[in-house]
C-alpha cells in the first residue's frame, strides 16, 4: 500500500509539473500581458516599462527557470494586476467556488442516484421514460441557457431570487441549481445503466431464486456492485469542484475560481493562471487518488489485487 501511495504521489508531482510547464509556455506565446493589462491605449513608454518590470523582455527559458526555482520554494509569483501573491488570490476564491459546487454535488448525488435507481427498477415504464427524458434534457442543455432561463423565471418574472452576485446565501441558490441540474441528469443516466447491468447478473437471479427479499437483493447485492461506475463519475465531479463552474460563475457574477480564471486568462495575468492551474491539477490528482482508494473499499477484488 505504501509503494502504491508513493508511486501515485510521484506521478501526481510529474503531472503538476507538466501542467505548469505547458501553461507557462502557452501563456507566453499567446499574448502580451502588458497590452492586455495596460490596455491598447496606454502610452508605448508605459507598455515598455511594464514589460521590463515583470521580466517579460527576457527569454522565455530564462523566465521559466526563474519561475520553477521560485515555485520550488513556494513562491508562485505575484499577480501583475493585483500585485498580491498569486496563490493568495487563488486560495481566497476557493471558498466561494466550493460554496456553490459542494451543495451542487450533493444535489447531483441526492437527485441523480435515486432517480437512476428508480428508473432502472421501473425499466421501460412511463416513469422510466419520463425520468430519462428529463435527464437527457438536463445534460444536453448548456449551463448558460439553463442559467438564463432560471434567472428569467425566478428573478425577472417571479422576483423570488436575485439574478447575480454573492451578497447572501439566497444568491447561491440559482447557481447551485444550475450546476446541480446537469450533474444530476448525468448521474441518473449512469446510475440507471449501472443498475440495469447489475440487475441482469446471475448472482441477482440466484439471490432472488433463493427467496431473498427483493429489497435486500437491491440494497445488499445490486447497489454495492453498481456503485463502482457511479463512484468513478462522482470522482470526476469531485475533481471538477474547484474548476467546474467557469460558465455559471460568469453568468451569475459569482466571485469564485471560475471568474478569476476568466479574468486572469483574458488579462494574461501569468502568475495567477499558473497558480490556478496548479491548484486545479493538484485537486484533480487528489480526487483521482481518493477514487482509487474508494474502489478498494467498495470492491474486495481491488483490495486483493493491491495486496498481491
Amino acid at each position: 500500500m505504501l509503494a502504491f501511495t508513493v508511486s501515485r504521489l510521484l506521478r501526481a508531482g510529474v503531472t503538476i509539473l507538466i501542467v505548469m510547464t505547458f501553461a507557462f509556455v502557452v501563456l507566453r506565446l499567446s499574448g502580451d500581458p502588458a497590452l492586455l493589462i495596460m490596455s491598447v491605449d496606454a502610452p508605448p513608454e508605459a507598455i515598455k516599462a511594464f514589460r521590463q518590470a515583470w521580466g517579460l523582455d527576457r527569454p522565455v527559458w530564462d523566465q521559466y527557470l526563474t519561475y520553477i526555482g521560485h515555485a520550488l520554494t513556494g513562491d508562485f509569483g505575484k499577480s501583475m494586476r493585483d500585485g498580491r501573491p498569486a496563490i493568495e488570490l487563488v486560495m481566497e476564491r476557493v471558498p466561494a467556488t466550493l460554496a456553490i459546487t459542494m451543495p451542487a454535488l450533493a444535489l447531483k448525488i441526492g437527485l441523480g442516484i435515486p432517480a437512476g435507481i428508480y428508473a432502472a427498477l421501473h425499466r421501460n415504464s412511463f416513469a422510466d421514460r419520463a425520468t430519462m427524458a428529463v435527464a437527457v434534457a438536463g445534460f444536453t442543455m448548456p449551463s448558460f441557457v439553463l442559467a438564463l432561463l432560471l434567472v428569467l423565471v425566478f428573478s425577472v418574472n417571479l422576483g423570488w431570487l436575485p439574478a447575480s452576485g454573492a451578497d447572501s446565501p439566497m444568491y447561491a441558490i440559482l447557481p447551485i441549481v444550475t450546476l446541480g441540474a446537469a450533474g444530476a441528469a448525468i448521474m441518473a443516466r449512469f446510475t440507471r445503466s449501472a443498475m440495469l447491468e447489475v440487475l441482469g447478473q446471475p448472482y441477482i437471479r440466484a439471490a432472488s431464486a433463493k427467496g431473498v427479499n427483493w429489497r435486500q437483493v437491491i440494497t445488499r447485492h445490486a447497489l454495492p456492485n453498481a456503485a463502482i461506475p457511479t463512484v468513478t463519475i462522482i470522482g470526476f465531479m469531485i475533481g471538477s469542484l474547484v474548476a467546474g463552474a467557469i460558465v455559471v460563475e460568469t453568468v451569475f457574477a459569482w466571485p469564485g475560481i471560475g471568474r478569476l480564471m476568466v479574468s486572469a486568462v483574458a488579462n494574461r495575468d501569468l502568475a495567477v493562471v499558473q497558480a490556478l492551474l496548479m491548484v486545479i491539477a493538484a485537486w484533480m490528482v487528489m480526487a483521482n487518488f481518493a477514487v482509487d482508494l474508494a474502489y478498494g473499499w467498495l470492491d474486495p477484488r481491488v483490495r486483493a489485487s493491491a495486496s498481491l
Binding site: 497590452l35 494586476r81 434567472v151
Partner: protein, 545 residues
C-alpha cells in the same frame, strides 16, 4: 447579588441607549437613497489610481472619487469649468497660476492646500524618485515636501504615464497656502488642458504617505470627490459612501455600489429584476428590449472617442496612398451608424471634437462616400485585386465584428479584396510580419486640444508610429512645432494641415463614427447621462419621483 447585576445591566442599557439614540435619530433623518450600478468592469488594472488605470471604465469609477483643479462640465459639452481651483491665470507662455478653492476637505477630513497639490505632481507620487533631474527632459517638482515615501515604489507604468501627460513640466510651486504655480520648460498652451485631464487628480498628501504600500493606496485613494471609497474588491465591487464634507454640498446618495457583472444578459436581467438601479455598457441592439418595459429607460450619448480604421502603409498594397484613399471613400459611414447603432451616434468631422473650441476646424469632414472615386483611385494605383488582410479582435469594440463585415462588403463593391483575419489579442494584431495592413482602433482626446489626440496618437510618439505602421515627415515636424506654438491661428492652421495629411493625402487612418455609451436605469430616477464614461452623481443631477 442577582438583583444588583440586573440593575447594573439596566443602567448600562439606559446609558448606551442615551448615547446611541440621538445617532439613530440622525440616521433616521438621512433619507437619501443608496443605489447599485452594474458595470462590465470597474478597473482593468485592479487599481483605483488614474495614473495607472488609463481606461474608459476607470474614467467612470474615478468620476465619483477624484477631482482636479480644472473640471469638465459633465452635463454640458465637457467644457472646462472651475474644479478645485476657483480661478487661474496665465503668467506667461510657460506658467499658469491657480487659486485654490478654500475649505475643500479630503475624504479623510484634511483641508486641501497648496501642499497637497504640489505633492500630487511630485516625484514621490507621479514621476518616480529615479527620474534624471539633469536630463534635458528634466521634469521635477520644487517639492516643499522632501520627506520620501519609504517602501512605496511606484509601478513603472505610473511615471511612464505621468511623463506622457506632462512631457515638459518644470516645476510646481506653492506660492502660499491657496496658490499654486505650474511652470513648463517650454511654451505650452495646453498646460491647462493637461492639468484638467484624467491623471491630474488631486490627492491627499497625508493619506498617500500613511498608506503602507502603493497598492494599499491605489485600492483606497483619498481625494475630494463627492463619494469616498469604503471597500474595493478587485473584479467584484466598489463600495462608495457619501463624502459628507463635500465642498459642493451634501451628495444626494448615501452610498453607491458598483458591481462587476461581466455578462450583458445578466446585467439586463438584474435591472429588470430590480436588483440594480443602473446598468452600464449596454450594447445598442439590446436597447429596444429594455425599453419595452415602461419602468426603464436607456440613456446614452456620444463620447469623446472615435472608432477608426488604421492603415499600415508599409504593406505592399498600401504603399501607394491612392489605395488607402480608396478605402476611405468606399465607406458609407452613415449606413453603419443607422444599421448597427440605430442612429444613436453620428459621423463626426474627422478626428476632432467640438469641445476643442477655437481649435475645432469648421467645415472639415470625413472623406465623402463615393464608390466611383474609390474605383478610379484603385485603377490609377494599378491595384489588381490582391488580398489585403484586415486583422480583427472579437468585439473588443462595440459592434466591431459586424462593422468589419459591413466594411469588407463596402470595400468589395469598390474593388478592394479585403480579407478578415480574426486575432485573439493585440499582440497578434500588432505583429509586424509583412502581412499587417488594416486594423481597428479608437481614439480619444484627453483634453480640449488636438495635441491630446492626433499628435498623441499619430504623431512621432504616438502608438501608430511607435509600432511602425505609419510615418510622415511633415506630420512629425508639425507635431513638434505645435507642442510649443502659442499663436492660436498658427496652431489651428497646423492642425488643419495634419488632418489633410492623416485623413486625405497620406491616410494613416479613417474615422468611421463617433462612439457612444449607453446606460439603462429606472425611469423614476431623474438623472442625465454625460457625454463621457464619467457619471455625474452630485445634487445637480439626481432626484427620485
Amino acid at each position: 447579588m442577582i438583583l444588583r447585576r440586573r440593575h447594573l445591566i439596566a443602567a448600562s442599557g439606559r446609558a448606551a441607549a442615551a448615547t446611541a439614540l440621538p445617532r439613530i435619530a440622525i440616521g433616521q433623518t438621512d433619507r437619501r437613497p443608496s443605489i447599485t450600478i452594474a458595470v462590465q468592469q470597474i478597473a482593468n488594472s485592479a487599481a483605483l489610481e488614474p495614473l495607472r488605470e488609463q481606461s474608459n471604465v476607470g474614467q467612470r469609477a474615478f468620476s465619483f472619487i477624484f477631482e482636479r483643479l480644472i473640471s469638465q462640465n459633465l452635463l454640458g459639452k465637457l467644457e472646462e469649468v472651475p474644479g478645485l481651483a476657483e480661478s487661474w491665470k496665465r503668467i506667461d507662455e510657460r506658467t499658469v497660476e491657480f487659486v485654490l478653492r478654500k475649505g475643500v476637505r479630503f475624504h479623510n477630513g484634511d483641508e486641501m492646500t497648496a501642499d497637497d497639490v504640489v505633492f500630487t505632481f511630485s516625484r514621490e507620487r507621479m514621476f518616480g524618485p529615479e527620474y534624471d533631474i539633469g536630463s534635458s527632459k528634466t521634469l521635477f517638482t520644487s517639492v516643499l515636501i522632501r520627506d520620501s515615501v519609504e517602501g512605496k515604489n511606484l509601478p513603472p507604468e505610473v511615471p511612464a504615464v505621468a511623463k506622457r501627460l506632462f512631457p515638459a513640466l518644470e516645476k510646481v510651486e506653492a506660492i502660499d497656502k491657496y496658490t499654486v504655480r505650474f511652470t513648463n520648460r517650454t511654451p505650452d498652451v495646453t498646460l491647462e488642458g493637461r492639468i484638467g485631464r484624467m491623471g491630474s487628480d488631486i490627492i491627499s498628501r497625508r493619506a498617500f504617505s500613511e498608506a503602507k504600500t502603493w497598492l494599499d493606496w491605489a485600492r483606497a485613494p483619498v481625494s475630494t470627490g463627492p463619494y469616498k471609497v469604503r471597500e474595493f474588491l478587485t473584479d467584484r465591487s466598489l463600495m462608495l459612501d457619501a463624502h459628507e464634507d463635500y465642498w459642493g454640498g451634501q451628495p444626494p446618495l448615501k452610498s453607491i455600489r458598483l458591481v462587476v457583472v461581466p455578462e450583458v444578459a445578466t446585467r439586463i436581467n438584474g435591472l429588470l429584476a430590480g436588483q440594480f438601479d443602473f446598468i452600464c455598457d449596454v450594447p445598442p441592439d439590446q436597447i429596444p428590449g429594455i425599453e419595452k418595459n415602461p419602468k426603464f429607460e436607456v440613456l446614452g450619448s456620444t463620447i469623446v472617442n472615435h472608432r477608426i480604421t488604421v492603415f499600415d502603409k508599409n504593406h505592399p498594397k498600401l504603399i501607394d496612398p491612392r489605395v488607402r484613399q480608396a478605402f476611405t471613400h468606399a465607406i458609407d459611414r452613415q449606413a453603419i451608424v443607422e444599421s448597427l447603432w440605430s442612429g444613436r451616434t453620428r459621423v463626426p468631422a474627422g478626428l476632432q471634437w467640438e469641445f476643442y473650441g477655437p481649435m475645432f476646424v469648421e467645415g472639415w469632414t470625413v472623406p465623402e462616400y463615393d464608390v466611383a472615386k474609390a474605383k478610379a483611385l484603385l485603377k490609377a494605383a494599378n491595384y489588381k485585386g490582391d488580398p489585403i488582410p484586415y486583422r480583427l479582435t472579437n468585439n473588443y469594440y462595440t459592434n466591431q465584428v459586424a462593422t468589419a463585415q459591413v466594411l469588407v462588403e463596402m470595400w468589395r463593391l469598390a474593388g478592394l479584396n479585403v480579407q478578415i483575419e480574426m486575432k485573439e489579442n493585440w499582440q497578434q494584431i500588432f505583429e509586424a510580419n509583412g502581412q499587417r495592413a488594416v486594423r481597428d482602433w479608437s481614439n480619444s482626446a484627453g483634453f480640449n486640444d488636438p495635441i491630446s489626440s492626433i499628435v498623441a496618437q499619430h504623431g512621432p510618439q504616438g502608438q501608430q508610429q511607435q509600432v511602425g505602421e505609419w510615418t510622415n515627415e511633415e506630420m512629425n515636424k508639425l507635431s513638434v512645432a505645435m507642442e510649443v506654438e502659442t499663436d492660436i491661428q498658427k496652431r489651428k492652421a497646423m492642425f488643419k494641415r495634419m488632418l489633410e495629411i492623416c485623413e486625405r493625402e497620406d491616410p494613416a487612418y479613417t474615422v468611421l463614427h463617433q462612439n457612444a455609451t449607453f446606460t439603462a436605469k429606472r425611469k423614476d430616477i431623474k438623472w442625465k447621462a454625460s457625454p463621457s464614461f464619467a457619471m455625474e452623481f452630485r445634487t445637480i443631477n439626481f432626484a427620485t419621483n
